[in-house]
Symmetry: C2
Amino acid sequence: MKVIYVDNNATTKVAPEVLEEMQPYFSEYYGNPSSMHSFGGNVAGKIREARQKVAALIGATPEEIVFTSCGTESDGTAIRAALESNPDKRHIVTTRVEHPAVKNLGETLSKRGYRVTFVPVDSEGRLDLDYLHQNLSDDTAVVSIMWANNETGVIFPIEEIAQKVKDQGIVFHTDAVQAVGKIPMDVSRTGIDMLSLSGHKLHAPKGIGVLYIRKRTKFAPFMIGGHQEGGRRGGTENVASIIGLGKASQLAREHLQARGYERIRKLRDKLENTLIAKVPHALINGDRQNRLPNTTSIAFEYVEGEAILLMLNEYGICASSGSACTSGSLEPSHVLRAMGVPFTAAHGSIRFSLSRYNTEEEIDFILEKLPPVIARLRELSPFWKEAVRAQSSKLRA
Amino acid sequence: MKVIYVDNNATTKVAPEVLEEMQPYFSEYYGNPSSMHSFGGNVAGKIREARQKVAALIGATPEEIVFTSCGTESDGTAIRAALESNPDKRHIVTTRVEHPAVKNLGETLSKRGYRVTFVPVDSEGRLDLDYLHQNLSDDTAVVSIMWANNETGVIFPIEEIAQKVKDQGIVFHTDAVQAVGKIPMDVSRTGIDMLSLSGHKLHAPKGIGVLYIRKRTKFAPFMIGGHQEGGRRGGTENVASIIGLGKASQLAREHLQARGYERIRKLRDKLENTLIAKVPHALINGDRQNRLPNTTSIAFEYVEGEAILLMLNEYGICASSGSACTSGSLEPSHVLRAMGVPFTAAHGSIRFSLSRYNTEEEIDFILEKLPPVIARLRELSPFWKEAVRAQSSKLRA
């Protein structure tokens, strides 16, 4: 069966050009870049190139790029480094809608003597900026706020926030895992001190990430060992994946420059506009004005998201009910709860996240299959029957 | 030029069978194993298989295997988890000859209120077991000792040490990065609580490692985020590399069962015996009785190791002057210094580390090229001239 993959915020296909670039570095040029011999040294040269390409994608200099193993490592490293570099400060500011890598770390740190403020969002997923700024103080060591939300795609005004935070002498970190490669960015023109990105969200392989650390930012390594990454991250370099991430960054940059995301945005808009027109009681979660071009989170009221996913799965359609990192839990998404999405809508929310590999035929296929799925499930849903009954009695009244 | 790669303790070639097994998981079956859809779920099944294969190699159960990004991460996680789980204890015991991942972490922790004991070794690189046991106390939170040394290949009596440490209720961790796959082991029959291994030392790719955590060992995750690895390590699984490490573990186990290391041992012995016979003032560093079968560290007195390496490099021979993780520094190896190897010998020490891909022809080629290299370099060496003069005047006396 053909797979229709619209779960690109969970993970992406490695681009064929990326895999091709990585290929020789497994069994042919497998030297350790730290070795004295030229067999290792040649590899070091390729890593330098990859570092330049990643830097170019986000507007950094190559020396500001530290390769890590994933977004989670980058997030944890950034926040812990900020705390360690500011040992007198015990306050952390983040949001209620962060990825578990930041949210769960915040909760853990709050049990270890740190005070953690989780800034709320409104019903559209927009950050309460007043609350944020009112809660900054001399005791605040770090502010960590995601650039774009993984579930709704809502984009926060990171440049604006970063500048205000920086003006108060507080370290600013952003988890930009979902934003990098999907929207243009130039960190050099912002107040961002540290930024996390993840390879497997932009068509590089899983198991490679980056922490951008602005020049002169105080830092303490999380992974202590060899001299790699300028002493900022010990451990033998993940050579093939670093080279792959370099290529993926170059492709993402070209795609952004060619405005390739406009095509993706049109497909996404067609998908969501048609669905809310065709399916009654279907709502878009999150601010439609400030959103990633590839993401839509749609609440189909009075049905179970997991049931929808299972039925879509039968057609080879891969979507998601929220973050893959929290799947398996029966709790509704913490992001939608923070937005105050009602229980009956949050439980029936599906995220579609597109990539440059999706086609109009695929979107049409989803549009053909999904509305009957919702209708069938609603026929089985006690909540739906009750809602319909309530509505018709209201109409009669 | 043909490459003669005898630097396998730095990193290894990815076995062709391993690369083949990984291939489909980049661009074809690229699902996130945490996803609800079967496209991701199928990948989760392959990860389960890989976990079983790694467990089988070291005698663990699959639930005791946590995938990490490298040996350095595994070491850091183990030591920090032991400290966090024993917050009343402030003492760490390790050795003077550990890999930087443990040595540098120990030094960092000693600046943060922990007391760290570095157990010495004798001139053969054997651990001072009396010193070790005398230094254990009620305040000791963790003992971390490598299974085999990366520079000399010397094997420590880990089973014996682990049992004694465990008998005192202290957590025992071993960095087994160089030992796994080269000597048989069965952790279930030992007192080891945690063990680190690294994929790229056993023909899996770089960027994947494992921390073995014995059932019921108290643990606190280092990387906090999603529910992955049973809540013991957040972050999307490095799918292709995990599958590769599974295959590499299976190959290593078969190789051990077929006593494939006997062939490697014979090649190593031929290399070192011929060299010390042919080259005057050449000494083997470390206990020849208890040593990895693939490793030899040879001191060529009165010459510079880096000069030897550069000349070998001209012939395509890739060896090392010590750990790749400390290369680039002008300091002689901390391992050889801890053994009391004299300055003139430590500086001229070369490590050859073989793998199953090395052939007798390659060893013969090294034996043909290396002795004249040493002779040429000694002609240029003021130390050598002085040593020869001193010796001849001694003979005259």
